[in-house]
Amino acid sequence: MITIFINDKPYQVEPEQTIMQAADRLGFHIPRLCYHPKLSIEGACRVCIVEVVGMRNYVASCAYPVSEGMKIYTNTEEIRRARRDIVELILDNHPEDCHTCERDGNCELQRLAFAMGIRKRHFEGEKKHYEKDLSSASVIRDPNKCILCGRCVRICSEIQKVNALGYAHRGFKTVVMPAYNMPFKDSVCTTCGQCINVCPTSAFIEKNFTQELFQKLGDKSLIKVAQIAPSVRAAIGEAFALEPGRQLEKELTAALRKLGFDYVFDTQFSADLTIMEEASEFLERFQGKGKLPMITSCSSAWMKCLEQFYPDLIDNVSTCKSPMSMASALIKTYFAKKIKADPKKILSVACMCCTAKKYEALRPELMVDGMQATDMVITTRELAWMIKSAGIDLLHIKGEEFDHPLGYSSGAGTIFGVTGGVMEAAIRTAYELYTGETLLDIEIQDIRGLKGIKEGKLIIDGKEIRVAVAHGLGNANEILSAIRTDPERYHFVEIMGCPGGCIGGGGQPYAGSNSMPLDEECLMKRAEALYGLDRNKTIRRSHENPDVQRLYKEFLGRPLGAVSHKLLHTHYSPKEPRGIVPAELTVK
């Protein structure tokens, strides 16, 4: 321990940490902007400057280490003025259009300006004038709003290892953009949307469908059908100022009906269905028919990543569609037939925690009878806005149940939203399908939690099955590289594109004034909300879902059968441009 002085008071702190880290632990929140605890230190914004006695200039507390006897001032009049000037200078080049901005009230820059006490503007700087990039199905890039904090560049390269973004040009003309300033849609971007989550402003936002959806909900000639992904219910409360961790499943169902949906289904039902198909597919492969390890295919950012970064592993990936696309395919066939409706008159809307699902919905491989199966995807954020905009009191609404026949789910379908959940659900079912015995301990702790890569083993009928789980495309890279060198290492691998799995999706509510994006505590609470739902269910195994059983009896026949093959399975193919995951920088 060493002694440092903050604002004249002595404190004992650990050495080997930055001033900001030490101050955080002592309860001093130094204002910050480009800093993010999960990302490398950029030191670009200078908002976190403090005075250190003996130093000629103010130092960036995010980057400067503490040392014995250091005297630090965090809140002198001079420091306050310098910080305020820095934030004012950032604002000078920022379009001052807060009241028409998608992040009004939710913007870190806005909050920072308020906290700095900026009540008057002294300077008028040169504004940036760039075209918005609207090309991507999922993410809109607006360089005019960008303040060059670089969090997007860092999350894309460090956590996701996708490297779709970089800084181009220099000085005032610096712009964060894809290589060659190509349209986002033509780049290696996987549409995961993590850049949106970490952006302090609205330089990155999702492609918004709320107005179009409001319009369609008013169209009486359409049958409006919604489905909700597991993680939406686990996080949407945060957009209504609730603490993370409270699930709002029944409230959401009621709210969607109030918004004008005729039927509200649960993506968890089709998650159960995914497990029936995927567990069966795994067992087939395990018995010699097909390539091992089998890799899951539910995450749309991972699908795009696979085709551009790992085309050599396409045969390893399960042919199962994602739960969203399975549900959508059934809505326009099985369900349409059931209610004797023309599928063309059905508007199928998916409420997802994900931005990449917007891209997935447009994949031509997922068309059903010449129709787009999922007509529209809205994120948790968009849904929260619609509920507020329509004047629905989500927190005090009387809860309602999902509609049948695509609304009932087992606990296995629920945990799909958390990293490791698909694997756990698949094991629950595969074990019993293979052995005919009941798996007693169905909560598989080895593959729970937020460790980047989780490994587990189980014995099915005397045979060892090695499984691995990765969340975030950077972690996925480690497992996939291991598979490339040693294909025998695992039998079954789950990959989710976002940190934490779908609960940490690119479409989830923005971090609030007292939390950071990607905060592990918040992710754990969202996860716990789903694990809690699972624990409280009587049926916790996908194959025991009576509605799934009925669906097979009435319509699909059997898992991997002809109808399943047509409606529930898809294929992947190598796509350009190819992505590159650079080796870790090594110093010889």
């Binding site: 970089g166 290589a179 060659y180 992505g579 080796a583």
Partner: protein, 160 residues
């Protein structure tokens, strides 16, 4: 027979192979970009894609470095390059007028190449020929004591 194109790419590839044997292969990017520009006269997207593949560096990063330094040309250069000196002496002696004449004559600005790919216009800060101000340099040749009329004649002489 190997074409000029094959020759260039082979030369670039062997340069990259060599770079990989150096102490910090990941910090050789700038020298590779220099080599590419030396071979091709400019750095095209195709060449950056090649570098990306060979050196395992994401294209977004290469693009960032290539756009950061003014020295790198991302578009093909004209057959001749005109550098207009905007140093103090030339400026006082009317370099701006010379520059505007060239701009009008060739319909290009700094960093651009004329439509017929004949000239690329560049800015220079003192060519060390202040006694002849205002001066321009076309390729390696200095032209001094210029007037707008003279400049137009010089440009025309290149087109003959």
């Amino acid at each position: 027979m190997a074409t000029a194109e094959d020759k260039n790419i082979n030369a670039l590839k062997s340069f990259m192979q060599e770079s990989k044997t150096k102490d910090h292969p990941d910090s050789q990017l700038i020298s590779i970009l220099h080599k590419a520009q030396e071979l091709y006269g400019y750095i095209s997207q195709e060449v950056m894609n090649e570098i990306s593949k060979e050196m395992n560096i994401p294209t977004a990063h290469i693009w960032g470095v290539a756009t950061f330094y003014h020295y790198f040309n991302l578009k093909p250069k004209g057959k001749h390059s005109i550098s207009v000196c905007l140093g103090t002496a030339c400026y006082v002696k009317g370099a701006e007028e010379i520059l505007n004449t060239i701009r009008e004559e060739l319909k290009i600005d700094f960093g651009q190449t004329s439509e017929d790919n004949f000239f690329t216009l560049q800015e220079a800060r003192c060519l060390g020929a202040c006694g002849l101000a205002p001066v321009i340099m076309i390729d390696d040749k200095i032209y001094g004591s210029l007037t707008p009329k003279k400049v137009v004649e010089i440009i025309k002489s290149y087109k003959k």
